[in-house]
Symmetry: C2
Subunit: 164 residues, 2 copies
């Protein structure tokens, strides 16, 4: 049985999302390639740049609590991103694949929204003021990325009903 | 390469969430047992009853589009729920485990929020009016369940900082 403090689970969750973000930076270029809609490609590309900055903020979070920045394999993210890769392999490029890629990406965003929400709450309880500042920035970017995808989807889905 | 229509991906996503909800009904009783806070146990128990009704609504969704209700193994949910089981095995009962269980449950909720959000959007595009009605009910319940957990967490986290 592990030592049990909120500080420990905070650190574990932080390592989980750190690994998740790094997985995302490797997956997004494939999603950019798989997308047909220019708007969607731009949204993925923009989010890739954003994700790189989010990782830098996570480095600052680790530093602010005197911990070495280190990831811990996030299996959930591996599963979510794996589904996206399968989609790209199984479907021809076109509006239906775009719609499915958006659905997958929104699951990824929601995983992150939940994780950052938890980290913000725990960080606040633990008095990690600096950390919470960085985590809130990441949380708000993920929420905006999710909304952006909903917007992009609106244009694509109508096309997708008629098939590829 | 699979036939590509939005109707096909809608059906696949529906089968995915159908399986996910059924996995959740099997996991929640363990989470009820693992939780120490009475408020959290109640929240999980209430969500179990809710989840059973959500599955019935999904049966109606399948029926409304003349499809047999059938799940397709949702790997992502299996991963998320597996993490929760590990938590229960690795940690002693107490406020820290409760905080970690809530974090895991909120990831589950967010997976569902993303999935139902997608299904509602696609259903609307496809003109599945009855289906969208049921799906919206499920979506709104998941959002409320997520908010309820945030509320319960507020009381538990302060306790958790002092350890078990």
């Amino acid at each position: 049985v592990k030592e049990q403090t909120l500080a420990t689970v905070f650190l574990e969750e932080l390592r989980d999302i750190y690994d998740a973000e790094r997985q995302i930076t490797r997956a997004l270029p494939k999603m950019v390639k798989g997308a047909s809609s220019e708007e969607l490609r731009d949204a993925f590309q923009t989010h890739l740049e954003e994700t790189k900055r989010q990782i830098e903020r996570l480095d600052s979070v680790f530093e602010s609590i005197d911990q070495k920045a280190r990831g811990k394999k996030c299996e959930a993210m591996q599963g979510l991103l794996g589904e996206g890769e399968e989609l790209i392999e199984q479907h021809e490029q076109g509006p239906v694949l775009d719609a499915a890629l958006i659905a997958g990406a929104q699951k990824v965003e929601h995983y992150e929204i939940a994780a950052y929400g938890t980290l913000c709450t725990w960080g606040k309880t633990l008095g990690y003021t600096d950390a919470v500042g960085f985590l809130k920035e990441n949380l708000s970017e993920e929420k905006m990325a999710d909304e952006k995808l909903t917007e992009v989807a609106a244009g694509i889905n109508t096309e997708a009903t008629v098939g590829a």
